[in-house]
Symmetry: C2
Subunit: 525 residues, 2 copies
Amino acid sequence: MTILGQQFIGGEALKGANGEIFGVNASNGEKLEPGFGGATKADLERACALAEAAFRPYRETSLEDRALFLEAIADNIAALGDELIERCMAESGLPRPRLEGERGRTIGQLRMFAGVVRDGGFLEARVDPAMPERKPLPRVDLRLRNIAVGPVAVFGASNFPLAFSVAGGDTASALAAGCPVIAKAHSAHPGTSELVGRAVSKAVKDRGLPEGTFALLFDSGREIGQGLVADHRIKAVGFTGSRGGGTALMKIAASRKQPIPVYAEMSSINPVVLFPAALTARGEAIGKAFTASLILGAGQFCTNPGLVVAIEGEGLDAFLKGAAEALTETPAAVMLTPGIHKAYSEGVEKLGSHASVETLARGQEGGTLRGRSAIFTVSAEAFLSAPELQEEVFGSSSLVVRCRNEEEVAKVVDGLEGQLTVAIHIDEADHAAAAKLLPRLEETAGRILVNGFGTGVEVGHAMVHGGPFPATSDGRTTSVGSLAIYRFLRPVSYQDFPVALQPEAVKDGNPLKLWRRVDGKLGQN
Amino acid sequence: MTILGQQFIGGEALKGANGEIFGVNASNGEKLEPGFGGATKADLERACALAEAAFRPYRETSLEDRALFLEAIADNIAALGDELIERCMAESGLPRPRLEGERGRTIGQLRMFAGVVRDGGFLEARVDPAMPERKPLPRVDLRLRNIAVGPVAVFGASNFPLAFSVAGGDTASALAAGCPVIAKAHSAHPGTSELVGRAVSKAVKDRGLPEGTFALLFDSGREIGQGLVADHRIKAVGFTGSRGGGTALMKIAASRKQPIPVYAEMSSINPVVLFPAALTARGEAIGKAFTASLILGAGQFCTNPGLVVAIEGEGLDAFLKGAAEALTETPAAVMLTPGIHKAYSEGVEKLGSHASVETLARGQEGGTLRGRSAIFTVSAEAFLSAPELQEEVFGSSSLVVRCRNEEEVAKVVDGLEGQLTVAIHIDEADHAAAAKLLPRLEETAGRILVNGFGTGVEVGHAMVHGGPFPATSDGRTTSVGSLAIYRFLRPVSYQDFPVALQPEAVKDGNPLKLWRRVDGKLGQN
């Protein structure tokens, strides 16, 4: 038994003394032992002080040391074995194969960032050598590199208890950048959090890193999480969760004496636009694939397809038939928490009882705490006059907007808020129409997919898991993929530095063998 | 006579009907003809609508077309000839050589961004090719590029009427990124603004670009500027000015339905840390060089050295002697505006009458509207207990903090707010002490200089003109140098796109010959 209700501060495991939190078995609502102690204000203070103390030595660890640290975390998570999967299944209600896959993704993500760190490209090293003879004025010697911004607060997500929680994408990219991390455990999976927190803590110790490099805190209310964002030693925040939660943190961060960036991934209904030729050719098959995406993980993906836009006709009828048939057979699924289940049920109820909305199909009824999937339809005209229909219903519910023509499709798309993804389904005959819509889609979403659905987010170099507000708080960034590291960096310029004081990254002779811009030209020199 | 009091909207020159603004001769306070009409709300609406309409075609102009546009602006500014310099001298009180230099810098900056656009590296193109055979799941085809964020509002700075105004760094980098620009003219140099605005407008027309690519508005109050930041079609803001002005715009931007980034360069006292061996070797010479930097442009540089930190001793005495002697001979200098002169005089008065502050030296008295330079001293102990002494006094005033030892220097540096620059003066014997302080300096400033002063900002690839709040609103960015373009970009990911719909930047075969990351590896392929 290695779940003891403990948090981690300065490499020590200790039980917080500020209230008690229990995990809940998602499938039946029963309390899971043991209780977890919430962090006190003194715990928060100690974690912040240690993170500040760790920052300078940690941000200047060698690229190789930092890569080995990330790999050690990955190894330690793998070594947690089945205890992690079983506890996570109980806490999240997610099935074993999904969580085994998510564990693989979490480990793979840490290893990818180890590669990103070794590559060193994120340092964006630049050298503009002096030109003492330049007229009318000589040019100084200028060298630039990125440095870590400082300690980062990470708020774990309920829907990815491994890949976007204690040692998920935010933590991995912040640690890769050279930032100590203080993670606030999500109360929906405290046991999972403790296990992973211990794995990270062990890696800090085994790799001989400063003890404040990582901390994990539990919060029995909201005081500790909010206090973390308000603390002057915290320099950036990573968050995945609701729009309400994200915007609350944005407000706290903006009203600090020194405002800091909040990277909040919040709300997206991930529109799917179906084009006529594709619908005619394979409407029913698209419908079935759509439903498969909709119900994946009980619809609890940030990239779940919550909106479909298409022109009425036989193709759309076939789509609706395929989607409805598949949905009708779908068993109700355990949701992440009783609270999420309640919000989902209420959201579906509200949508279904909207005057302009018709119910196309419902999944099977299930027992308590199980979400019953739903597909609704609405006319474009009604949709355009009811902004509330754009609100995310977190879970396997989607709304199909029936348009009369291409112009109505464009109008619906024009009215969309910022999104993580937009999917389009097209055949070659649709290319011209799709090309016309594409600029608007680029301005709306971080990722555009052809003939697929947004669920399934590849962790790679060309991934954007981001998008204009309210999809995220900062549409210039991504929280998945190697570009995520840039959220935790800032550039510093060194003018006329003697060699002895120059950072290795910008020294003549390129000792770190980085790709650098010398006088603006990229090269490995 | 080409100064007609006109603004530019949609390529048309027109006089605004919302009040009248006059330029003022900075050296005598006299009104300069003609009057400039302030923009009406209808003007603002029209400029925003046109910018929105221009955005899509403009952001997809070819790299070559965009580079030629930037070069055409540069040519048109050069062609304004002496009328520009003379009007600008009258409006700003800055001397001819300085403004000729600034014009060169403005033109050079536009040409540099033309080079940045042709290089295409800012697109950050990435390709992760599909792996259909990958187990357990096939990998999708993912391609990524940066796109422009949307129309940008630019607020010209009073202290760089050319290089940081209508066609300055913010405008050049936003246009380079593919963003239409609506510039709000600074009321301190309306004639200069009109001349440059006409040069940009002509380039838009001559290069056949959408008419909404650029607009210039005058504001007889604050309504138009604030309305611009609040307008939903504006997607980012560039600002150089006071802390009060910058934070006001940040608030407006954060409270929009869709918050947007504000890049405000605001407030910096640019500390200079003098180390013992350097002081001993050449204290007096450093003092003279310091005063030369302090009084440059009447001290009205964002990077003006407003604070000196050093350990007491003979070296510091020599520094103070050299600085004071040079200052005493300094004639009073015309300041940018009567308002700036007034604020400067009051700031100096307040500092000089502070209980803990002693006056070391004053420059010569001058006539009306001329700023009289000043150097003050204070003990570290008193400085540390009086946070108001860190407030910027915009102009040629500086405060020398006398420390008793290295620990006090570290304490003073530790207490500094975010800065654009920190300069250190060192000899080889100071390297160890400097290395100890360096991490803190990196965390405080965007640029660190050795044996120089922050005034004189090189426009290059390795320049950071930025820094943690309150130096700027966003310490992850720079407003000078080629990296400034990244402020106006966001990444978009394209999944499984047919070749016909892929942007050129990410197509197989690399038709734009960009440096790209393919599977994470940089190469020109």
